[in-house]
């Protein structure tokens, strides 16, 4: 049974790769990133091993606990598409007792599982500070893997019913992406907080000591205690670690047995309030309809909601970094340059418009069937995006000008931000006609197997960025000059609006013509399996 399930898992992966060459590219990229992390881990461990053998034990316990927690929390995000979900076995005459060993081993031999095992093996480098600890750590590896895999099963099993509701699933996905996006800032804040603690090493040591007694870290606490020569603590921690795995095993088996007889079925979110205001506000023609639909999707489709929230978050992150650096270095301060930060949203604007058909996936067939003109499609999507982006950009510009205490720079800030955003959106409307990109399917989990849209989107980005920079240079240039001569800000604003409007018009017309010619090909590209 074990070999059967492991084989099933791998055959599924192989078929997926065979069907879609883009996915191989993504897999290789993911693998390279993972290898990078592992290389960094081993380099860090080697350095610690020789520079500060005492700190190595602390670092190992904490790293191990983070890996375990990563599995447990990660399972919430990835559980939505489990190719070995219990439901798939509900019709077969199998028991939880016979399935669980196979499912556990199968999970340990996924790409994530192999990466984890590799990381655990690499951690032996650090454990080599003492021979007994090294030996114990080797024995602990299977126990650690079991803690990760079984814990993940239990967490996703416990939350499964709750996650099966579409609204909670959407919420989790949205929060997860936002957390991942702002992790850099959070890390920055964390490090900032740490620098205020005088005895960093001591603090880490204390935390590691506590963690080593918890179910999350006990597995790593055992060799740590051995390294410290405390055999009693080692025994007790071993007891905790074994009890944890045993408890998780029993719980996982209970949950699995329950799922086999009462499969979870995804359910919906019920009625929604239909915003009649949108329909009254926008013209009742194809352009207005597409715009209204885009706005509805920004709110109802978690993949797109994330994009929109990012338009507020990305500038906020940059402002945050600028402010933090400004606090540290009074001499430079976070001067008038922050008023240019809202223009960074041009990066997002291009992609949002370029990828808009990819987000529709094959549902865009409705546009093909109804024979809507390509220009109407492009103009509608741009209008919908603009109705959201213009107020957001305006608010950001006012906020940054207030923050810098330079309201006189508002025209320059608006000119740069609106100009660049409009130009990027226009170029996205054009590029989207021949490089529509690929997004994860609407019902798929964005955290599941990597989406293949990345490579195409990167290519599109390489086309849109130079266009935006070249066409946006006048607006941006005068906006920068306005820092010294605020009157030039008005020049920036006029140029930004004029060139932006031209770019929007050009993008809609050129992109629309492309679509009229290439609708079937675009449909095939965005709907191909990824």
């Amino acid at each position: 049974m074990v070999a059967l399930l492991v084989g099933l898992r791998w055959r599924q992966l192989r078929h997926q790769l065979g069907r879609n060459p883009w996915m191989i590219v993504t897999l290789i990229l993911t693998g390279l990133i993972a290898l990078g992390f592992l290389a960094a881990l081993s380099a860090g461990l080697v350095a610690l091993r020789f520079a500060a053998p005492d700190a190595a034990v602390t670092a190992l316990v904490l790293t191990g606990a983070v890996i375990v927690l990563g599995w447990w929390i990660g399972s919430i995000l990835v559980s939505a598409d489990d190719s070995l979900a219990p439901e798939r076995f509900a019709l077969l005459p199998v028991t939880a007792r016979s399935l669980l060993p196979g499912l556990t081993v199968a999970a340990a031999t996924t790409i994530g599982g192999i990466g984890t095992i590799t990381a655990l093996v690499l951690m032996l480098l650090g454990w080599s500070v003492s021979l007994p600890a090294l030996l114990v750590a080797v024995i602990m590896i299977p126990l650690a893997v079991a803690t990760c895999v079984l814990g993940a099963r239990v967490v996703s099993g416990l939350l499964g019913r709750w996650l099966a509701r579409r609204s909670t699933r959407d919420l989790v996905v949205t929060l997860g992406v936002l957390l991942a996006a702002s992790s850099g800032l959070l890390l920055n804040l964390g490090i900032g907080a740490l620098t205020t603690v005088t005895d960093v090493g001591g603090a880490f040591g204390t935390v590691a000591d506590v963690v080593a007694w918890t179910p999350v870290g006990a597995v790593f606490g055992v060799p740590a205690a051995i390294a410290g020569g405390d055999l009693l603590a080692a025994g007790l921690r071993l007891l905790i670690a074994v009890a944890t795995v045993a408890a998780l095993w029993l719980l996982a088996q209970r949950l699995l047995a329950a799922r086999l007889v009462a499969p979870i079925q995804s359910s919906g979110g019920g009625r929604v309030r239909s915003g009649g205001v949108l329909d009254r506000m926008l013209p009742a023609n194809p352009v207005g309809a597409v715009a209204a639909r885009s706005l509805r999707y920004y709110r109802r489709d978690p993949r797109q909601l994330v994009n929109i929230v990012m338009m507020l978050l990305l500038p906020a992150i940059f402002v945050g970094i600028a402010v933090m650096n400004g606090l540290q270095d009074e001499a430079i301060g976070f001067g008038p340059a922050v008023t240019l930060i809202p223009a960074i949203n041009a990066l997002l604007a291009g992609s949002i418009v370029q990828m808009s058909i990819a987000y529709d996936n094959d549902a865009v067939a409705l546009h093909v069937i109804t024979g809507v003109r390509g220009t109407a499609d492009r103009a509608g999507r741009l209008l919908g995006f603009g109705l959201l982006a213009v107020p957001v950009t305006a608010v950001l510009c006012v906020a940054t000008c207030l923050l810098a205490g330079r309201l006189d720079l508002l025209p320059a800030s608006l000119g740069a931000a609106l100009g660049l955003t409009a130009i990027a959106a226009g170029s996205g409307a054009w590029v989207g006609g021949f490089l529509p990109g690929r997004a994860p399917a609407p019902e798929a989990n964005p955290f599941g197997r990597g989406s293949a849209g990345g490579v195409q989107s990167l290519l599109a980005m390489m086309i849109m960025s130079p266009i935006t920079l070249i066409l946006g240079a006048p607006a941006l240039g005068f906006a920068i000059a306005a820092i010294w001569n605020p009157a030039l800000g008005w020049v920036s604003l006029v140029l930004g609006l004029a060139i932006g409007a031209l770019a929007l018009w050009g993008g809609a017309v050129l992109g629309g013509r492309l679509l009229d010619r290439r609708w079937p090909e675009v449909l095939a590209e965005v709907s191909s399996e990824s």
Partner: protein, 258 residues
């Protein structure tokens, strides 16, 4: 067959061909559908029915050949051809984060219809298909049968002259199924033309007056229902044409429980 531009049948397929890699999905398929008829398109799984309909409706570019809708070439003059047909695709996602009412309104406006007409027809269609209670529910939360019904409503809203329906009654409950049959019959009685694909012989026999049978991308038989049946039941005739897979007496012998 006559020149399609001279006295146009409502739908004329001419030499349609599509190849995916090594597999020829549709091979030189030509077919005329006269006005006021209801044509049942039959064929085993993988016969090329959906591919043919996709090339007819502008979703898939043929390798060769074209389709004419009321004299308009789908691939030369798509706007004109698409305006005259209503389409219910199968196996394609809908914009399912809209509610049923929103999706209908969206389709109507994309078709360039005046708003007042969209509103009144949406109400009629939702009532007729029994979707009024679900009009404010997102389509993503609809059952399979409800999706078929809202898809059919979207195909009907601009009152097309030609309806192209891929598996219109699949997963639809018997009550709604009867409603859909009535809608289609009265549509044809009033001069409309329907092309529908199905696996259910009974449905085609009771509803359609013309039949086309395809297998492995080729048109095997085509014409008025009685002519194609040639005295047999449609089921027998279909199996005779497509080739029944007759099980020998010893096949699956272990399945006998005695």
């Amino acid at each position: 067959m006559t020149d399609p531009t001279a006295a146009p049948p409502v739908l004329a397929l001419r030499g349609l061909r599509k190849q995916f890699g090594q597999k020829v999905a549709v091979d030189d398929l030509s077919l005329d559908v006269p006005a006021g008829s209801m044509l049942g398109l039959l064929g085993p799984n993988g016969a090329g029915k959906t591919t043919t309909l996709a090339m007819t409706t502008g979703l898939l570019r043929p390798d060769a050949g074209t389709a004419w809708v009321l004299g308009a070439d789908v691939w030369q003059d798509p706007a004109e051809a698409k305006a005259r047909m209503g389409v219910l695709p199968d196996g394609i996602r809908m914009l399912d984060r809209l509610t049923g009412a929103e999706l209908l309104r969206y389709t109507g406006l994309l078709r360039g219809m005046p708003e007042a007409e969209v509103v009144s027809r949406s109400g009629d269609l939702l009532d007729a298909l029994g979707l009024s209670d679900a009009q404010d529910t997102l389509v993503v939360d609809y059952s399979a049968g409800m999706r078929k019904k809202i898809g059919l409503a979207c195909a009907l809203i601009h009152a097309p002259r030609l309806l192209i329906l891929d598996e219109p009654l699949e997963a639809v409950d018997p009550v709604s199924g009867e409603t859909i049959r009535q809608i289609l019959r009265s549509f044809v009685d009033n001069g409309g033309t329907v092309v529908l694909s199905s696996h259910v012989m009974e449905l085609v026999e009771s509803l359609c007056d013309r039949v086309a049978i395809v297998a492995e991308g080729r048109l095997l038989a085509h014409g008025p229902l009685d002519e194609v049946r040639a005295g047999m039941s449609l089921q027998q005739r279909f199996l005779a044409l497509v080739g029944a897979h007759d099980l020998g007496t010893e096949t699956l012998a272990w399945l006998r429980s005695s």
